[in-house]
Assembly symmetry: C2
């Protein structure tokens, strides 16, 4: 799928339009060398304009990747691949993004415990060197959804977790790879998607792009 092509891909300039250290770690885990160029897109889309939380995450991912792709790259520096991603937590129709402060994190986590929620990651892949008939850059985007079930935990447990500083900068105020992993009774879907990037779906997409020659 992708492991057999890692060596070939190491000659490509792959740009991750995200500052998330978890996403970078996921790429490193499979041996893929990427360059991090955080997107300057403001992530201010109007949620009410989207039919679903997944559609919102997908469009945000697309805007992030587009902003980085459209920069004034010199011909020698132009990325072969730009990857955008956005992760949101959805609980009973509401979107939870990153908590503003400790009180906000406490409210988010209190709403998640004892419940099942969905984690959606939108991914956009842009190949800046390939342009369609309409002049648009070659783009693929998709979303991946994982269901996560939290056990019921006490308020003092939630506060002990907030004290670790972990909730900040994370959608839904938690990171499954850290201490909050202990609360997760079960997940259904891709684990890496909950960490912030749907590794399998991305690998399958890249394998398809290699096969059809859009990536060399």
């Amino acid at each position: 799928m992708i492991l057999e092509h890692v060596h070939r891909l190491s000659n490509q300039r792959i740009v991750l339009a995200s500052a998330s250290p978890r996403r970078k770690e996921i790429f490193q885990n499979i041996g893929l060398r990427i360059k991090v160029v955080p997107s300057l897109f403001e992530e201010n889309l109007d949620k009410s304009q989207f039919s679903s939380a997944a559609a919102y995450a997908q469009e945000t991912a697309l805007q992030k990747a587009r902003e980085v792709s459209n920069r004034a790259w010199t011909p020698n520096n132009i990325p072969h691949l730009v990857i955008g991603a956005d992760t949101v937590v959805e609980l009973q129709g509401s979107i939870l993004e990153k908590p503003k402060d400790a009180a906000n994190a406490e409210a988010m986590l209190s709403s998640l415990i004892g419940q099942r929620h969905a984690v959606h990651t939108g991914v956009a892949i842009i190949i800046p060197s390939v342009t369609g008939k309409d002049g648009e850059l070659f783009t693929r985007s998709f979303t991946s959804t994982t269901s996560v079930e939290f056990d019921k935990v006490s308020l003092s447990e939630i506060r002990a977790y907030i004290d670790t500083g972990e909730p900040f900068g994370k959608a839904g105020a938690y990171g499954i790879q850290g201490p909050a992993g202990a609360w997760v009774k079960r997940i259904e879907g891709c684990y890496f998607n909950v960490m912030g990037f749907p590794l399998h779906d991305f690998a399958a997409e890249v394998a398809a792009l290699l096969q059809c020659g859009h990536l060399q």
Copy 2:
């Protein structure tokens, strides 16, 4: 559950009767300080004597924890808690353990791709200072099962993975946290269980032991 007690538990001598670096990492992730004392139990139980792969893993975990608990600990050194664990992969009724060599890893991985398999981890918790009426050490044991679905990948992909050296020392010849994570379409259950230790179920058990006073 367990995070609110991590400080209290840091005064306890917690011994992990396993040399697995993945298990150690899982404990470190939740901030729990443990001492690694690999068990000398030979892991040679007769599989045909067990009603299920899960029962086999549970008994192996118990024997690992028992061997470490029964050592000649000095009174000042006796562990408060000894944890044993054993992970097996089950595919259509067959148990896959660690691969012997590259050919064995290739055979295991070739059988797993495009299929759904079960990962069972048996866990045993022994409190050496607590003895029942029958003179037996206080023991809790359980198993956790996660279903893992692999995508279909090519033989060259499998060989590229074996070349990384990752399959060796791992039940079923793969580690979900490394490059083979890209092959995993979905899991159902606890992710950490696939890594080698069912974090949530363990945390819930320890919380119960703290509540009933068996752990201080």
